[in-house]
Subunit: 228 residues, 2 copies
């Protein structure tokens, strides 16, 4: 692989995508991180994303649009983010924090940026274990998007081949954290909470905070998060 | 089909998508038209889209984001829109008016809106004949997106089936115009020009204007367009 092969990396500001950015860097890619300002209630993650991108020397772009106008999710709408749910409930069914077509929309923009900038590798931090309920976090979805990418684009039609990398897809949260720790990810910069305080402190009780806490504990890595 | 089955219809304000809206109405769907303000130089089409949606009694939403930040197309960037090209050149290769991943992005938003509103039918006015150069106007692309839609969504996973309708895909411009005329489309409301004057008058010379003119002539339908 040439030293300046480029990759577009979806970066939310959370733990998973920060780890993916580190993995893409280790694989020798020149990094273009992409974040979305879509009306999420946890917008503090955009600042986190910017700090993380800077720490990796990655180019960083933010694309803005508003998914709130359509409602239907606890992450963008007026529905409350569930708190203190037991682990078996977290893993069950499709959570109300599911945002319809969100990863499809994110990957579509990533594809546009990738084609425009001559990148043929797109990295995304989806994970099928902890959030088995999100349909757009499964390997089947990633494969379908990759097929689409290669018929949707000029580059694909002209014989280039887009690859969608989802390196975390089969990893547990603890495995992800251990991999990130090995690669020097500054997890103190990342934010996972679905419902942070106005100052950006994690609630510690939403599904995402609970999975993060458990992950650090199981990985045997100190959790640098400042919980409320 | 029940009278209130819902469809999401991509509506650009052009001739093709206005015809598709009429086709979806004829098939008995309750219509939700979706347009995009993406930094296109021919933004006048958004006003046209609104008028067309109103004329069909359709709900109309506009989603805004900016594709200009990535460049790479004559429709959004500083590249000049080509004028007065001979017909054989128009049909050849991928035009510089191609916007990377545009239809993928548009359909992704349509999918999000469809899932949120309980619509399982999405209509899009792509056409493979006049613009054979656009990779994301081919049947292969539509099929790949339909496959994606059914693994990407909660509704798809739960056994609902999304259908992407592209009723114009094999039609000539003249056939489209005849079909629209039959269905009462007010083509005077539509705009096709890639490079209209500030007042919204069509240039008459870009590829899109040329195809439109030729289409009306071949259809034997009067062209209501006011060219510069």
């Amino acid at each position: 692989m040439s030293a300046n092969k480029k990759a577009v990396v979806l970066l939310s500001g959370g733990l998973d995508s920060a780890t993916v950015l580190a993995i893409a860097r280790e694989r020798g890619f020149e990094l273009h991180a992409l974040s979305f300002d879509y009306g999420q209630r946890h917008r503090v993650e955009l600042k986190a994303a910017h700090r993380i991108a800077q720490s990796f020397g990655a180019k960083h772009s933010v694309i803005s649009f508003d998914l709130r106008q359509f409602g239907g999710s606890a992450l963008t709408g007026d529905i409350d983010v569930p708190k203190n749910r037991p682990q078996d409930q977290i893993s069950e069914g499709i959570p109300i924090t599911y945002v319809p077509a969100r990863n499809t929309i994110f990957l579509s923009f990533a594809l546009g940026v990738a084609e425009t900038t001559g990148s043929f590798d797109i990295f995304v931090g989806v994970n099928a274990l902890d959030y088995s309920g999100y349909p757009d976090c499964r390997g089947e979805f990633i494969k379908a998007f990759e097929s689409l990418a290669n018929v949707a684009t000029k580059a694909g039609v002209e014989g280039q081949r887009f690859t969608i990398h989802a390196p975390l897809i089969e990893m547990t949260k603890a495995q992800i954290i251990r991999e990130g720790a090995r690669l020097g990810v500054a997890y103190s910069m990342t934010t996972s909470c679905y419902d942070p305080s106005p100052e950006g402190r994690a609630c510690g009780r939403c599904d995402s905070c609970q999975l993060r806490r458990k992950g650090f504990a199981e990985a045997g890595v100190g959790d640098p998060t400042s919980y409320q």
